[in-house]
Amino acid sequence: MFRTSLQRRIAWVFVGLLVLVMGMVLALVRTGSQRIVANQARHELAIGVGEFERLLDQNQRQLETAASVLSADFAFREAVATQDQATVRSVIANHGHRIHAQVMMVAGTDGRMIASTQNGHGADVPFPFPDLLAAAESSGRSAGFRQMRDGQPYQVVLVPIMAPRRIAWVAMGFRLDDHWARELADVAGLSVSIVRIAPGARPVLLASSFGKPPGAAERYQTTRLDLGGGLQAVLQLPLAQVEAPFEVLLAQLLAVVGAAIVFFALGSITLARRIVKPLGELSAAAHRIALGDYGQPLPGQGAGDGKRDEIGRLAASFEQMQRGIASREDHIARLAYVDGLTDLPNRTHFLEAFAGMPAGAGGVVAVLNIDRFAMINNALGYPVGDRLLRAVGQRLAPLVSGPGMVARLWGGHFAFLLKDAGADEARRLADAALRALRDPITLDGQRLDIGSSIGIALYPQDGVDGGTLLRRAELAMAAARKRHSSLAFVAEIGAEPPHEQLSLIGDMRAAMENGEFMLDYQPKLLFSSGRVNACEALLRWRHPERGMIAPGRFIPFAEQTGFIREITPWVLDEAIRQLAAWQRDGLDIVVSANLSTLDLLDPGLPLYVGALLERHGVAADRLCLEITESALMDDPALALAHLGELAALGIKLSIDDYGVGQASLAYLKILPVNELKLDRSFITAIDREPRNAAIVQSTIMLSHALGLSVVAEGVETEAELAWLRAHGCDVAQGYLVSRPLAAQQVRGWIADHAPVAVG
């Protein structure tokens, strides 16, 4: 019934107050009625006592009159006057019977008995109640209550016998028995008892109007009247008789109070429930709001309800608060989870969505990068870049329907999440994405062709957390881009276990400090002289625990992490120092060093290189810096500017891995380079691959036409070497010429092999 403590408290307070008030009312009524009963009882008793006394008085006078009449009876007087005992006794018995006196006694004027109807009273003894005689002497007659010889109480009337002078006294006794007591009780309205009182003795009940002894539980208002002669009349008013009407009143009042309490309890419970129920509902609603459920309508806010009381207003405030919280949370969530530029989910949202994926089911995390986005940004301005990103986002967003997500990570990087999918779905998604971006995007009437690369990581094969999968997908994407493919799976690029990569970051820093890096030099053979007049400095890492680590395993990683910018200065410093050493030893040689994209974008590079050359006293034309085509692509203008500065120093520049990147012939026209290094993929089996041969042959002709020398990489067979020489290639580099050598071996190796016999 009482579901909540508030409801219980409200009900208790109401009912308790009512009970209190009613209790006070009852107590007042009871006290008042008790007072009234007491007064009434006193009053009734006083009236009864008065009536009783009046009755006694009246009774006495009647008895006196009767006695007087009797005593005046001639025959009676005549008989008494005879002084004959037997006669006198006979007449008093006879005449006493006439007036219903139980005891008759005749005494002489000298106070001695003449005759008595009572046994035991002999003649010539003193009259037993001399006080009555004395009273009668003075007033002519007397009366009183006396206990006779038989032990019974009597009302005794003493009158003279006149003939005509007083000749004797006659005493008449009327017994006070129960019958008498009842008659008086009936008239007086009190119960009447006659008791004998004697000092030092218990009162003895002689007569009573009670049929049987009253119960101890009955209460009486009592008055005692001294009757004289050691007799006492006990007059009692039964209080129950007075209390009866008040008892009825009290019972009725109790019934009313009881009913009132019941009704009040029900009413207050109902009221409390009306108050508490909406509070409970509001409390539940607040709990729902706390849990983030803002969709539930609040109680008391239903249509047509329209309660305008305090609870209704509270509910309205709750409703307002809920809407406010929902709106702000929505806004915050937007800020936190949505990419402001494209309105796509951001990286955080993406990772959370991945974390929300059911475990066990497969999933796909793919990263798409817009090629050359930085270039577009720089060339066309950020507003265009932003609009481009929005346009790409709009094209990509519809590709993932159902369980999954398209998010923008940063820059031109977008990510896809496919839930419950595998490699096949990933491939279809990648195809769809590439197809979607195939059509040019027109911005301000300007058509932009954009390319993209996609790396795909599969869950759970390639990682179990979103961060790892994203990173590995990016690695795959970078790998795809590197090999000019549009798509790569993490599994295909054979990336090292993630933990090894992570440890390499720390190891590379330690390697720099511990001098674990070193440079090997691979000789370059100049066809025209048949001599080695140059070598390429190649970075080597001798790991104290893992031994030699292949450059392909840490250099791309250093490039990705930016650590390459710390390595390259060391490489340059080491290479130029070695160059200087060789020059001091009389070995005239050109040393090539590789620059990464990041190095090329470093504005301090030309100054640094110039300072090194000056410090080591090396002529600028003895240093050659090799750059890849792709290094130019990210920011061609800046790269071009820096290359120009390097060229101005007199440093030779070489384009590395020529032919596999997105090199443009236009760049060849403007780049201040001195040589092209043909990628080994063109050189391998060039003597048997007419297509490679055609490309290499035309490139050589083109380079020569542009005044560039041509270096062939990866020359491994004599046939290749022969073909290259036959077709006018300027320099050969590869295992056939020499594997990379330690610095101290170079001088000896050149001495041993020079001049090489050139067929």
Binding site: A72, F74, R77, E78, A81, M162, A163, P164, R165
Partner: protein, 220 residues
């Protein structure tokens, strides 16, 4: 003749007795007494009786007669002294009947409801005190002292009484009143030729007229 004058009976008796004495004994004396209460008030209706110490000297007076009439529902006189053997008439002069009675042992009698003069007088032949009442009128009351001596008198309202024709000799003087508080001790006196004057004291309650409960029929 004298009776019809309705004189007090005692006076008649005294005169009558004195006349008798004169006729018998020439040298008779007179005893005059005055009875007073201890407070000095004269006591009326007291009986003064001389009893000769020598019994032979006393004589009965035959056919003595007295009357106690009822008038106005009262006995008149209230007190009477007679010698033993006197017959007393109780003439009823009221319109109502009377029922005269006496329960006194010297003379018990009863004259039931009658009017006028009863046919027979009542003979008081025994000395003693007789109280007479009326059964119809409780307040009515008469006292008769019956004595053996012929020498007695009743005091008048002034307390005086005189006994004439008393032969000289020694006498016991008895004083009596119906309401006396105690019987006075008798005293002896010597009666000579000269009148004896005695001052006597008697303590008696004053007679108070008892209220008549019956309304006088004349007033109807």
């Amino acid at each position: 003749m004298m009776l019809r004058r309705a004189l007090p009976a005692a006076v008649h008796t005294a005169v009558f007795t004195a006349l008798l004495a004169c006729g018998v004994q020439a040298a008779a004396g007179t005893v005059e007494a005055r009875v007073e209460s201890p407070a000095g008030q004269p006591v009326a209706d007291a009986a003064v009786v001389l009893e000769p110490l020598a019994p032979a000297r006393a004589r009965l007076r035959p056919s003595a007669h007295a009357t106690i009439e009822q008038r106005g529902t009262e006995f008149i006189p209230w007190m009477t002294v007679v010698q033993t053997g006197t017959a007393i008439d109780f003439p009823n002069n009221d319109t109502t009947r009377h029922h005269v009675y006496s329960f006194s042992s010297p003379k018990r009698f009863e004259i039931k409801l009658y009017v006028g003069k009863p046919s027979q007088p009542v003979l008081f032949d025994q000395a003693g005190e007789v109280v007479i009442g009326c059964n119809i009128h409780d307040w009515m009351e008469a006292h008769v002292l019956v004595v053996d001596s012929p020498w007695f008198a009743r005091t008048a309202p002034d307390g005086r009484a005189a006994i004439a024709n008393v032969p000289p000799g020694r006498y016991r003087l008895r004083l009596w009143h119906p309401l006396q508080k105690a019987a006075p001790a008798p005293q002896e006196i010597e009666v000579g030729a000269q009148p004896s004057r005695l001052a006597l004291v008697l303590d008696a309650k004053v007679r108070e007229p008892r209220p008549h409960t019956e309304v006088d029929q004349d007033h109807y």
